[in-house]
């Protein structure tokens, strides 16, 4: 039999036959590895998660017309600069003064599907308008006019006076109220309908006053898009909504820093825990160490055996940790971010390696203690 075989036989025997003792050590390693790999998963997945989260907080780019206003076509052309993969949603808005019950209100016509994407956080009591003839009313308007969900209302529009005409006819359209918009902001003072409805109400088409866009990507990518659009020479002026994008980045980096900090703390705690357990294990095995020395074990072989055991424990703990860590990260992700996490295969070997390294490192001192056992002393007592 080879020496190496005997070595493996010895350390596996120690792990298997001293199960209950080893389980305690294994537990601390596995828990450490679990939290570590879980946190690292979250650390890497947080940008993805948070990016999506922040995009939920609305448009991060706005198109405004340079002078005389822009057309829907201008908006289309400018938006074409943005990769379709990065463009989460686009909503052109056109605002017109209309009347409900002869009282003036501002009506916003928009791409309703696009607006839902750029303003997903809008709280709507009822539903967004889905088809023509449907309207969503801001909460302030609804209160003023005592409008509630399901009501039918008549919206009128007074065209501008044209030359040679003394009288202009108002146009009317009937709408069904599908929802009341409650944002806590100025949006509550408008009514929202599809752009097509607004165009037919006003009798003019193709115009917009502003467009809101939700674009994914980091600060640099967004800045590049902004610059490229502004250099197109079109009437479209792109502007990043600085407040949101900036906070997106700082909150993200703060979150990541927090996760990193917790990771380091957990790492330190794991090392302390493993070191303590190993010290106890060495103390418990003083007789055995003395015996091994008495039959000729050198310090090197004692170190080799204990290190071997501990590295093996570290490996097993790492395997357990990378599995449990994914489960842990998944749970956190589902409960905190309401989305599932991506499995990172690279994290498995990394977790195992780190676990082995951490276990090895933290058992160095206890193992040094093992070499200092005096066989004559430990073997004589009862």
């Amino acid at each position: 039999m080879k020496k190496r075989q005997m070595y493996l036989r010895m350390i596996t025997a120690s792990l298997i036959r001293r199960r209950s003792r080893m389980l305690v050590a294994l537990l601390s390693i596995a828990i450490g590895a679990t939290v570590l790999s879980g946190l690292v998963t979250i650390y890497y997945d947080v940008p993805r998660q948070m990016g999506a989260q922040f995009r939920n907080y609305g448009a991060n780019m706005i198109f405004t017309p340079s002078e005389e206003g822009f057309t829907l076509e201008d908006i289309q052309n400018a938006a074409a600069v943005i990769d379709s993969g990065d463009l989460v949603g686009i909503a052109p808005y056109r605002y017109e003064n209309v009347r409900i019950n002869a009282i003036p209100v501002v009506a916003a016509g928009t791409d309703l599907a696009g607006a839902q994407k750029t303003s997903p956080y809008w709280k709507v009591e009822g539903a967004w308008p889905a088809a023509g003839g449907e309207i969503m009313v801001g909460a302030a308007v609804a209160e003023n006019f005592r409008i509630s969900e399901g009501d039918s209302i008549e919206v009128s529009f007074t065209p501008e006076m044209e030359d040679g005409h003394d009288v202009v006819e108002d146009t009317y359209l009937d709408f069904k109220v599908t929802g009341i918009l409650d944002t806590g902001g100025s949006e509550e003072e408008y009514v929202y309908m599809s752009l097509a409805d607004l165009e037919s109400l006003t009798g003019s088409a193709g115009r917009a006053d502003v467009a809101e866009l939700s674009v994914s990507g980091g600060g640099e990518v967004l800045a590049q898009y902004e610059e490229r659009i502004n250099q197109m020479g079109s009437p479209v002026q792109a502007r990043l909504v600085k407040r949101v994008t900036a906070s997106e980045t700082t909150v993200l980096s703060k979150l990541q820093a927090l996760v990193l900090l917790v990771t380091v703390v957990v790492l330190a705690l794991t090392m302390i825990c493993v070191a303590t357990t190993m010290t106890a294990v060495v103390a418990e095995r003083r007789k055995e160490i003395g015996l091994r020395k008495s039959i000729g074990a050198s310090d090197r072989s004692i170190i080799g055996e204990f290190l071997g055991e501990n590295l093996m424990l570290g490996g097993i703990g790492g395997i357990l940790g990378s599995v449990l860590g994914f489960v842990f990260a998944q749970q956190v992700s589902i409960h905190v971010f309401s989305s599932s996490i991506r499995f990172m295969p690279m994290l498995v070997p990394v977790t195992i390696l780190v676990s082995v390294a951490v276990t090895g490192l933290s058992s160095l001192l206890p193992i040094r203690g093992a070499t200092q056992v005096d066989p004559a002393l430990v073997l004589k007592g009862e």
Binding site: M1, M6, A13, R292, S294, G296, S301, A376, K380
Partner: protein, 262 residues
């Protein structure tokens, strides 16, 4: 040249002289017993001979090498290559089987050899217990595993510190018989014991008292019986009393052992 020679060896713990100017020689192939009351320095001397401890003063020549001057690392090597140790508490690695415990000594010495280890277990009559853990073995069986482990690397000297101290008579006899076999094969044996039954089968008995060599009894005929030293008035009973053994020996057992030995 003697295999082992102690020259004016002292071991001093503070005020206490655990060994106090001990000089002795042990020839190759000799079987020596060491007796003496508790605290007389027997284990201290064995530890020094066994390269587990160093004397405070004096020379200890093992195979011509002064082990009192060697580094700890060299002592480990010498212990591994030349010495087989047997303790009163059986001291086996509790998560290794009997066979693996024997192989452990081979592992540290040179190469583990399962077949040879099995043969050693067979010699101590435990071939069928090879796969048992120490907890599954009786005290006597555990001590026999220790003997197998001590002899596996053909050491120059086997040092046994009260090898039968925790054994009943039947197992004591088995172990003493094993010593006979080893002796017949030329192994040098130094056995510390409180038990005159065990001491008297050796060729020589050294008696320690307060760290000093108080007496040396040569068993001239090596018949297994201690020869009374008339001038010193040394008697077996005295040895027993010195060792705190009250019970008189059973004459039957003594006779049986002598018969079995020859």
């Amino acid at each position: 040249m003697s295999l082992l020679e102690l020259k004016n060896v002292y071991k001093i713990y503070g005020e206490l002289h655990a060994l106090d100017n001990v000089s002795l020689k042990v020839e190759k192939g000799e079987w020596v017993s060491i007796m003496g009351p508790s605290g007389s320095g027997k284990s201290t001397m064995m530890n020094i001979i066994g390269c587990m401890d160093k004397p405070t003063k004096g020379e200890v020549l093992l195979d011509g090498v002064d082990i009192s001057r060697e580094s700890a690392r060299n002592l480990t090597t010498i212990r591994r290559d030349k010495i087989g140790l047997i303790f009163q508490q059986f001291h086996l690695v509790n998560y290794l089987t009997a066979l693996e415990n024997v192989m452990l000594a081979q592992y540290y010495h040179s190469m583990p050899d399962e077949k040879e280890a099995l043969e050693a277990l067979d010699r101590v009559g435990l071939a069928d217990r090879a796969g048992h853990l120490p907890s599954q073995l009786s005290g006597g069986e555990q001590q026999r595993v220790c003997v197998a482990r001590a002899l596996i690397n053909y050491p120059e000297i086997i040092l046994a510190d009260e090898p039968t101290g925790n054994l009943d008579e039947a197992n004591e006899e088995i172990v003493v018989d094993l010593f006979h076999k080893l002796h017949n094969e030329g192994t040098t044996l130094i056995v510390v014991t409180h038990d005159p039954e065990v001491a008297e089968v050796a060729q020589r008995t050294l008696v320690l008292r307060s760290g000093r060599l108080a007496k040396e009894i040569v068993n001239e005929n090596f018949t297994g019986k201690i020869h009374f030293d008339e001038s010193e008035g040394f008697r077996k009973e005295e040895v027993k009393a010195a060792n705190g053994i009250q019970q008189p020996e059973a004459p039957q057992k003594s006779g049986k052992k002598k018969g079995g030995k020859k």
